[in-house]
Symmetry: none
Subunit: 125 residues, 4 copies
Amino acid sequence: MIIIDNMDKRPIYEQIVEKIEHLALIGYYKSGEQLPSVKQLACELSLNPNTIQRAYSELERRGTTYSVKGKGSFITTEPEKLSKRRKEQLFEQFIPLVKSMLVIGISKNELITEITKIETGGKAI
Amino acid sequence: MIIIDNMDKRPIYEQIVEKIEHLALIGYYKSGEQLPSVKQLACELSLNPNTIQRAYSELERRGTTYSVKGKGSFITTEPEKLSKRRKEQLFEQFIPLVKSMLVIGISKNELITEITKIETGGKAI
Amino acid sequence: MIIIDNMDKRPIYEQIVEKIEHLALIGYYKSGEQLPSVKQLACELSLNPNTIQRAYSELERRGTTYSVKGKGSFITTEPEKLSKRRKEQLFEQFIPLVKSMLVIGISKNELITEITKIETGGKAI
Amino acid sequence: MIIIDNMDKRPIYEQIVEKIEHLALIGYYKSGEQLPSVKQLACELSLNPNTIQRAYSELERRGTTYSVKGKGSFITTEPEKLSKRRKEQLFEQFIPLVKSMLVIGISKNELITEITKIETGGKAI
DNA sequence: GTGGTCTAGACCACG
DNA sequence: GTGGTCTAGACCACT
């Protein structure tokens, strides 16, 4: 389920973090579910375990997962935190973006019209 | 008019590119106007001329400016291209962002309400 | 009575040691009382017997319990040692902590006020 | 100024983080001051640059420092944040510690007496 | 077996 | 020169 895009200029570990957060958010990983082990995922993706480890550390730091030494890494059991944080993140992007659009002369009406036309079919971020 | 933010994680040359494009878009730099010389701007901003040179090269590559050997760099004389490209760029960010927001359960009405509240005072991108 | 917190970053055996010491201190386990067997506790907590064994060994090493071959582990019959040692431990933490707080400008009055407000309801250590 | 204690069971990078935060807090490092480079400090402490890098990343994540690629790492220019966070950290330790002491029968008066006796001369944390 | 830390050495983008 | 990422391989504590 996790695919690394070498064309993507972001670091690999960051791609992994985002992908796993996304999988947790859409319910592919259930609350409390165990993630693949560092070594296993490193093997699957042909990456160094350190790279996976870094991604997992970041996920834990963000509260997306928690890890237990000797047992493994698990999706947090407080999933409402995940979606709340995600929502804030998106608004943090949304508001300055809209401001930029207004500044260069795109009207609020034009934006609202655009929104009403959007269907959730295509590519999201 | 150009202020470098050291806290900004983006490279300095990229900040300069964006700032100059912005200044061109809002009409601070007129079509055909000459930019400050590499040396002068480097001096003003206390930066290495290499950094400015890189920004200017990038601006030329993007078509925002053109350079004349021995004379300097000038804002393009086809400014409508600038705003058209910028507008496209912003919509390319806007649409997938809105899709993401809809996917995680933010309603279109909530977005529209948010837009109507936005004033162009604060930080844009 | 013993609950393992997987979110707690400390090793499980250490959590068990601390919990049993606490239970002995507050009198839940009486002096000389037998602890549950390794197997039984491992079963109750769904843990590996090795983990329990390690906790019991540590408790014996600390003098909190003593073990009799073939019979089991028992709370020490010199309980006054327990509370004395615990008290010393806590003061060893308390005094440098207070010093740190004073150093960064928290006043003694502020600390005393804080103490008078504390109820023993919430989370202790 | 930074000394690694190999007896300390905490990871090296964490010792470095704490030491630098402390040095920033007591004013040894001024606001905006540049830290030694990753490689230089690694050399001075006879450690691998990765270990220092990890410490520096953590410091930046905590807001104690900010880093500029190609330039170096610098103490944050908003130092009031540092002491505010430090104060919170200390109270987070203080309150459960006091609760533990009350639980095992140490009285509030005894604690208050102890506090009034404390001078900031000795070892803090 | 698990996660976590560390070393050694490499490459990159940036200034 | 700087910080940042990545690989390779090692050791440790814990389960």
